[in-house]
Each structure stands twice: as structure tokens, then as C-alpha cells.
């Protein structure tokens, strides 16, 4: 009797499992479809795009759109492609991610292990920073950058991203450091280590998971940012997202969809790469605080 029952459930299990995979595959296709269309389109020439359908395969692999997008397409009056702006973005992202991550780590360390009078209030105030919409600070920030004399510069953009990112990075690090026992810091203090020595020798070495999370988060946020980029950058400090917008909006004659698509993929590549390389740490790090370590 029980054997029969078992066989029946295992048959049902198999059906359910197949249904689950079909469902998952369907969802994956829906999510991947735009990217596939972009990729296919970027490999066709303009004539083929006009005659074929979105999903039809290119007749031959043609990378000319990619090379044009990289260093030939016009973004406004310049016709140098995406390349210079691609590097502009790196010049903004690398220092902004590094500085905001370091500041977030220090803030989190102070708020969780060196509590001072009002530190909880300070943390609550900092959290509000996570909820301020970008648009709200555009004007005051423009004035501030003007006063500081770093309007339209890479330095200015880095500063904006650091200021805006510190709220998030502090939150990440604070939550992670909350799970580090206070005794560890006490023991180090009795051993004679000071504030920065403890941070550098004891706290930072165990922070890898949360550093990975923060770097991915900040990299994605800052790389994909358009609003700050378009508002605060100068003519030659525009990030790649702004350049992509200009490239797509600039057209002499017919619209070159293949070039547009290639440019869009180029602009998205670094964030994709970061996720592929470090994605598993991201999930691991986000859940690290949830389980007792």
C-alpha cells in the first residue's frame, strides 16, 4: 500500500519538477529577450534590420557597428564613439567606489563598536540619506559644487557620488559589524591596540564579504547613474551613460539601430562583468548577517 502511494507521489513530483523548469525557463527567456534582441541587432547591418524581424538571426557576423560605436559614432558634435566616455566613467567610478566604501566601513565601525552619545541618532539621520531622491538635491548640489570650484569636473562628480553613497555603505557595514562581538574590540583595546590599529588589524580582515557587497552595489549605482552625470559633468567629463544618450539622440540621415545597440551593450558590460565575477559573494554577503557566524 505504502509503496504504491510512494510511487504515485514520486510520479507527481516528476511532473511538478518539469512544470517548475518550464516555468523557470519561460521567465528566463522573458528576462533575456531584450538582451538577445540587442545582441542580434548589433550584429546586423542597417539594411537587414529594416527588412527582417527583431528575432531573425543575422546573415553574417558583422562587427562594424561595434567598432563604430566604440570609436566612430557621433555623440553630439563629437564623433569619437563611446571610448573616451567609457574611460571617463572609470575615472569617476573607481575613486568614488573606493572612497565611499572606505568611509562606510569607518562609519559602520564607529557606530557599532565605538558608540558615543547620540551615535544612534547620528545613524538614524544617516539612514534618511538613503531615502532622499536624486532630483531633490540637484540644485543645492550644483550650488555647492560651484562654491567649491569643482563644478563640471570629475572630482565634483566623485564627490557627489561619495556623499550620496555613504548613507548606503554605512548601513551595510554597520549591520555587518553589529554581528562582530564587542569582546573582540575590548580584547584588542586591552592588548594595547588603538582605534585605527583595531580597524586595520582585526575588523577589516574579516570584512571581505561586506566589502564585496558594497563594491558591487556602489559600482552598479555609480556606473549606471545618468542624472548626476548629465547634471554635473562638463563637456569632456561626461560618463558613458550620458554619452549613450547623446549617441542615440544624434542622427545624421537614417537611424543606425545596430550602432545604438552595440553602444548600449558596451555601456552595460562592466556592471555585467562585475556581477558575473562576484555575484555569488553578493548573495552570500547580503545574507551573512542573517545567520550566526
Amino acid at each position: 500500500m505504502s509503496n504504491v502511494a510512494k510511487r504515485q507521489t514520486s510520479g507527481l513530483d516528476k511532473v511538478l519538477r518539469v512544470a517548475l523548469y518550464v516555468c523557470l525557463l519561460g521567465m528566463a527567456t522573458v528576462y533575456l529577450a531584450p538582451f538577445i534582441v540587442m545582441l542580434l541587432t548589433s550584429l546586423k547591418d542597417v539594411e537587414e534590420i529594416r527588412s527582417g524581424t527583431l528575432l531573425s538571426l543575422p546573415s553574417s557576423l558583422d562587427f562594424s557597428a561595434w567598432s563604430k560605436a566604440w570609436n566612430g559614432a557621433c555623440t553630439g558634435s563629437q564623433c569619437e564613439g563611446m571610448a573616451p566616455y567609457f574611460f571617463n566613467s572609470f575615472k569617476i567610478v573607481i575613486p568614488a567606489v573606493a572612497i565611499s566604501t572606505l568611509l562606510g566601513a569607518l562609519n559602520g565601525y564607529v557606530i557599532s563598536h565605538w558608540k558615543f552619545k547620540g551615535s544612534d541618532l547620528f545613524f538614524a539621520a544617516l539612514l534618511v540619506g538613503c531615502f532622499i531622491p536624486f532630483q531633490v538635491i540637484l540644485l543645492p548640489m550644483a550650488r555647492t559644487l560651484g562654491w567649491l570650484g569643482i563644478a563640471n569636473t570629475t572630482t565634483g562628480l566623485v564627490m557627489v557620488h561619495v556623499v550620496y553613497g555613504v548613507a548606503f555603505t554605512t548601513l551595510f557595514f554597520r549591520n555587518f559589524y553589529q554581528s562582530i562581538p564587542v569582546e573582540l574590540v575590548k580584547a584588542a583595546r586591552l592588548d594595547g591596540a588603538g582605534f585605527f590599529t583595531i580597524f586595520y588589524r582585526i575588523i577589516l580582515p574579516v570584512s571581505t564579504p561586506i566589502i564585496v557587497v558594497t563594491v558591487i552595489w556602489q559600482f552598479t549605482q555609480i556606473w549606471n547613474d545618468f542624472l548626476f552625470g548629465v547634471a554635473f559633468s562638463g563637456f569632456d567629463t561626461q560618463p558613458v551613460t550620458v554619452a549613450l544618450n547623446n549617441l542615440v539622440n544624434t542622427s545624421f540621415g537614417g537611424k543606425e539601430y545596430n550602432v545604438d545597440m552595440a553602444a548600449a551593450i558596451i555601456a552595460a558590460l562592466p556592471t555585467l562583468l562585475v556581477y558575473v565575477l562576484a555575484g555569488k559573494y553578493f548573495v552570500r554577503g547580503l545574507t551573512a548577517g542573517a545567520v550566526k557566524g
Binding site: 575590548k186 586591552l190 594595547g192
Partner: protein, 369 residues
């Protein structure tokens, strides 16, 4: 080695007073135990000695030097934590030598010191491992090694054994005692385990609600508790408290209570009962003072035989605990396992009141002359 003086130390968090004027002073080389239930302020006091928390009032002196406002690293003390607090990213050797490194001790000396400590605690084979690869007992040893390496003036132990299993706890307890005898250093040790307190301490400070209830040697605390709390906290099973009436018998004050029949017990400290004649007091009698009738004690001073009604018996191997009810209070007696006490029966027991104490039921204080 250093003496420790705690003078009228108070600690307040806003309105709540955690420490209400602590006064303790111990000689160099003494083993002091702070014991009390959770929330009694013993850990706060420990952190204050370490300098990890500021005190609101009072002074702390280590070896005649006022350290009330010194930072932890300048107090020359080492601490062993309940959670061990080993640096997870460092090897055992690095953990032990970290304090020396911070004090700029040259590398060769550090290595020699690590070796010395490792030999002493028999952890030489673990030096290259990380804390995560150690068992609880091994972590405990490494934590002690880290404290020993600096050769500080004083050691602080914050419930160091409470994360270990029962067997290991007893082993490590003995080892800590051996270590203290070998090194002769001053130790302050926090625990909520009264057996640890009894076995390890030169002196015990029993704390409750931010106050020291009693400070004394283990035997003093055990034999002469100053109040009901101390009497009930130290000893396992706890001291029995029996309501009794002070009466006069043959020209001496004695205590009358209700076992199976009304029974009058003599009391050693005559002076103290004088003003309580005719009134009710609480008789404090340890379980081992109520035993099966022992022929050699027959007829001795302060020994009385009386019948009790057995409610429950609990064989413990070496002894059998006999539970009865005297004057309405539950009473534990310690009898020989061979003595045929059975639940529901009435049997004779021998009451030895030579070490009995009495408490005022109104305020719980010890009644003494």
C-alpha cells in the same frame, strides 16, 4: 602582581544605578571572585576595573596607582572573556603575541614568549591554526595564553568557563587554580556559578543589585552568611530556612519548630537570640547538618534527634537527599544512601545545630549579638 582597591565605586546609566558604592580591597596575589545572579553588576564592575567602562564616582587603584581615569592599555591588566574573543583572522601564535606586538616587543622575544606560554598550557601543536579550527576547550586555553603572554600585573576572568561542557569546566577550573598557585598573580574572576566561586577563590564578593552583600573567604561566606541572599546563593543544595520560635529551655534560648512532632533545637549563639524571645526567626541550617542518626555524635552538644516525614528522596550516589517539610518550609537533608528513607514514611534524623544561623524574617539580615 598588584593589589587592587575599589573605593566607593558607583556607576549610573541615566537614572538607573548599576553599581551603588562598591568597596573591595584585595592583597597582591589574591584570587578574588565576584559572584552573583545575572544583572547584579558584576560584569559592569569587571569592565570598570579593566577601564572598558568609566565609573560615575569613586576610585580604582591597582598596585597603589590610581587608574580611575587611565585607558585600558595603561592599566597593565589582561582579560579572558566568556566568548574567548580570539582574533578570527590570526593564527593562535599571532593571537598570543598580538599584545606584545602592540607594546613593541622585539620579534625574537615575542616568539620566545609564545613558546613559553604554549608549553605552559600545552597548546604548542595548535600555534599555526586559526581559532575556527579549535575546539571550545582549546580556544579557552588560547584565550588564557593570550592573557599570560603579557605578564600583566593582574588578570581578569569574565565567566571564562561558562561556554564549556560540564566535564571540561571542572578540568579547566582545576587548571586555573593550579595556574594561580604557580604564578601567584592577582586575579579577579567573575562567575555566577557558586561552586566555581567556592573552589577557586581566596576571597569571594557576593553581589546583588549593584551592592556587595558580603566579602570574605569561601568558608566565612559558607558558614557565616550575613543575610538570607548570601546564605541561599552559596551552597548546593541551598541552605534550609525554617521558621522557628525563640523559646527558653533549661535556662538557655532555643528554637522551637514543627517536624513530625514539635521539636526544640538548641542554638549556639545565645546572645543574639536574647531580644527575639517569643518571636519568630528563620533558622538557617545546611542540608549536611541534618543526617541519619550517627552513633558517634549521640549526646554531643547541639545534636538533637527528631522524627521527620519523608516527602521525596533523591539518590545522588554519594548521598541521598531527603526532602521533608518542617514548620511549613521545604527542607533538604543529606543522608547516607544506606539509610532506609522512603517517601511517605516517618523516620528519625539527627539535627546538628552547632553551625546553625538565624535570620530576622522582617529584613532578611543575619541575627548576631
Amino acid at each position: 602582581m598588584a593589589s587592587l582597591v575599589i573605593e566607593n565605586v558607583k556607576k549610573r546609566y541615566g537614572e538607573t544605578e548599576i553599581l551603588k558604592g562598591i568597596n573591595i580591597s584585595i592583597e597582591p596575589g589574591e584570587f578574588l571572585i565576584l559572584v552573583g545572579p545575572s544583572g547584579c553588576g558584576k560584569s559592569t564592575l569587571m569592565n570598570s576595573i579593566a577601564g572598558l567602562e568609566d565609573v560615575s564616582e569613586g576610585r580604582i587603584l591597582i598596585g597603589d596607582k590610581d587608574v580611575t581615569f587611565s585607558s585600558p592599555k595603561d592599566r597593565d591588566i589582561a582579560m579572558v572573556f566568556q566568548s574567548y574573543a580570539l582574533y578570527p583572522n590570526m593564527t593562535v601564535a599571532a593571537n598570543i603575541s598580538f599584545g606584545l606586538e602592540m607594546r613593541k616587543v622585539p620579534k625574537e622575544e615575542r616568539e620566545a614568549e609564545v613558546q613559553r606560554v604554549a608549553d605552559m598550557l600545552q597548546i604548542g601543536h595548535l600555534l599555526k591554526r586559526k581559532p575556527a579550527q579549535l575546539s571550545g576547550g582549546q580556544r579557552q586555553r588560547v584565550a588564557m595564553g593570550r592573557a599570560l603572554a603579557r605578564r600583566p600585573k593582574m588578570y581578569l576572568f569574565d565567566e571564562p568557563l561558562s561556554n564549556l561542557d560540564a566535564k571540561l569546566r571542572v578540568e579547566m577550573r582545576t587548571e586555573i587554580k593550579k595556574l594561580h598557585q604557580k604564578l601567584g598573580t592577582t586575579i579577579v574572576y567573575v562567575t555566577h556559578d557558586q561552586i566555581e566561586a567556592m573552589t577557586l577563590a581566596d576571597r569571594i564578593a557576593v553581589m546583588k543589585d549593584g551592592e556587595v552583600q558580603q566579602l570574605g573567604t569561601p568558608q566565612e561566606i559558607y558558614d557565616n552568611p550575613t543575610n538570607l541572599f548570601v546564605a541561599g546563593f552559596m551552597g548546593s543544595p541551598a541552605m534550609n530556612f525554617v521558621p522557628a520560635k525563640v523559646v527558653e529551655q533549661n535556662g538557655a534560648y532555643a528554637l522551637e519548630l514543627q517536624a513530625t512532632k514539635p521539636t526544640v533545637l538548641p542554638f549556639p549563639d545565645q546572645e543574639s537570640l536574647k531580644s527575639y524571645l517569643g518571636k519568630e526567626v528563620l533558622l538557617g541550617l545546611r542540608p549536611e547538618m541534618i543526617t541519619e542518626p550517627q552513633p558517634h555524635k549521640e549526646g554531643a552538644n547541639f545534636v538533637v534527634k527528631a522524627d521527620i516525614d519523608v516527602e521525596v528522596t533523591e539518590p545522588m550516589g554519594a548521598d541521598t537527599m531527603v526532602l521533608t517539610r518542617i514548620s511549613g518550609a521545604e527542607v533538604n537533608c543529606r543522608s547516607n544512601p544506606a539509610y532506609p528513607a522512603k517517601a511517605g514514611e516517618t523516620i528519625p534524623m539527627m539535627f546538628d545545630t552547632s553551625k546553625a544561623v538565624a535570620f530576622d524574617p522582617a529584613n532578611g539580615q543575619r541575627i548576631d549579638g
